[in-house]
Amino acid sequence: MLLQVDNIHVHYGPVAALKGVSLEVGESDFVTLIGSNGAGKSTTLRTISGLNTPTAGEIIFDGNRIHGLSADRILRMGIAHVPEGRRVFKDLSVTENLLLGAFTRDDQDGIKKDLSQVFERFPRLLERKTQMAGTMSGGEQQMLSIGRALMSNPRVLLLDEPSLGLAPNIVRDIAQILTEINEQGVSVVLVEQNAELALELARHGYVLETGNVALEGDAKGLMDNEHVRKAYLGI
């Protein structure tokens, strides 16, 4: 297993945000975490990428324990995180944002190649490469945030609510791109409130409720699950 989260607990002060979450992500896997606000989806991603530290439990990536390491070291190991709310560097240009995504790399040729690949994948970013990131639309900023994460050449890509607040056609574009990225061998962990979209894209799904994994299974199976249909798909 490429990434294994084993029974992690996370506290914000005295408040328990995660109460024993376990999940597994294989090579070239596509996993989604769904659940309502406050269920612990974002906290799970933040703990994997090192922004939060678990109070108990283990996270193993490629055979190494990574919980407790700082976020910059975890990125170097091959886990990139596209944070909630896109959070591009607003006062830097599109190109500068992308090059910062490759901060840890020294292979100039590889960086150049990946930069042109990101521009190929997101032609809108190429059109706006010298523009300040803060002046772009929400959809463009989301593309930039994903592009920036890809520039580190990750093995696992964590995405937190990439569809939030975007027009349906842009959401479609981004879904298409996530599928392509996954097909090229990058494992994707997608956190989404849009459960229908998430289960459609993913192979495996986890349903988080109040800091626990309430349900897990094959994405198609979850889509047919009575509880999931009622609570998250509104059917």
Binding site: A71, A80, P83, F89, L100
Partner: protein
């Protein structure tokens, strides 16, 4: 007319000097989210070092500046490691620690220099540059302007052209997301405080032969730095430089026509007006949480 031109030149020189310490304050705040109240004392330590090393021990002025820069940088690094890093979760704690450092440095300076009258360092550069037969600039101030401009130019180059400079700006914009790009934010904090403290040490070295050196001289420095940072926009480096020059012009002109005390009062009034009318300053960026 002569007086106006002369005041513009004086304001420009003063502005370069203000920029040196104001930009350090902005860098440290931007990257570490700590308001370094001891920043004026870092300038004071720089000036005191010139008095001790150059005026007392007779070592050359330029080597003395180098000693001042190194000493103040070391103090800055100690502050980062011992005070600011452990208290990062609570910005108020960092601020209070920096006030503690302010008093400690004042007391040390008093112990070193005694609490007699202010010290003077005789200017190492003599003579006056006369431009167009009407603007007179002592060579000491020419030196100050050239060195300030070179230091600011170097900083600008570092921030906009080097990978580390980008990383520093990224941390100032969003510390968490910078870490997600693989940037070691502790390392960047060290760079930020080193640069900020080194510039404060340099500012102290430049001001030493031009004014009175005493343990409390940091007070004026920090008041000026606050005015400049707030007028320029908290967190904006270019805003800080622009505001430093504008404020120095303003201060020089009010001093020439109304006196120094009025100038300081007017400066503080300007700061309050900016806070009320345009709290983000002239080039301000919103501080994100």
């Amino acid at each position: 007319m002569d007086l106006v031109l002369q005041s513009i030149v004086n304001g420009l020189i003063q502005g370069g000097f203000y920029s040196l310490f104001a930009i350090g304050l902005v860098l440290i705040f931007g990257v570490m989210r700590v308001v370094n109240f001891a920043h004026g004392e870092l300038v004071m330590v720089g000036a005191f070092t010139i008095w001790v090393v150059h005026a007392q021990f007779g070592i050359g002025y330029i080597p003395a500046i180098a000693v001042a820069i190194v000493l103040v940088t070391v103090i800055g690094l100690l502050m980062e490691r011992v005070l600011f890093r452990p208290t990062r979760a609570d910005p108020l704690a960092g601020l209070i620690c920096s006030i503690g450092v302010l008093f400690i440095l004042q007391v040390i300076a008093t112990l070193v220099g005694g609490d007699g009258p202010s010290k003077q360092v005789p200017p190492p550069y003599h003579g006056t540059l006369v431009l167009f037969e009407m603007i007179r600039i002592p060579y000491q101030r020419v030196f100050s302007l050239v060195v300030s401009a070179a230091a600011l130019g170097g900083l600008w180059f570092f921030l906009t052209r080097s990978k580390f400079g980008w990383a520093l700006r990224a941390v100032a914009m969003d510390r968490e997301v910078a870490a997600l790009q693989g940037i070691n934010t502790n390392k960047i904090s060290i760079v930020a405080i080193s640069v900020g403290a080194a510039l404060a040490g340099l500012a102290g070295g430049l001001v030493a032969p031009l004014g009175n050196i005493n343990p409390h001289m940091g007070h004026n420095v920090i008041v000026t730095a606050f005015i400049v940072t707030i007028v320029g926009g908290v967190g904006s480096l270019s805003g800080a430089i622009l505001a430093a020059i504008l404020y120095a012009m303003f201060h020089t002109f009010v001093t020439v026509y109304f006196g120094a005390t009025i100038a300081t009062i007017a400066g503080l009034t300007l700061m309050v007006v900016v806070l009320i009318v345009k709290p983000t300053g002239i080039m301000g960026v919103k501080v994100s949480e």
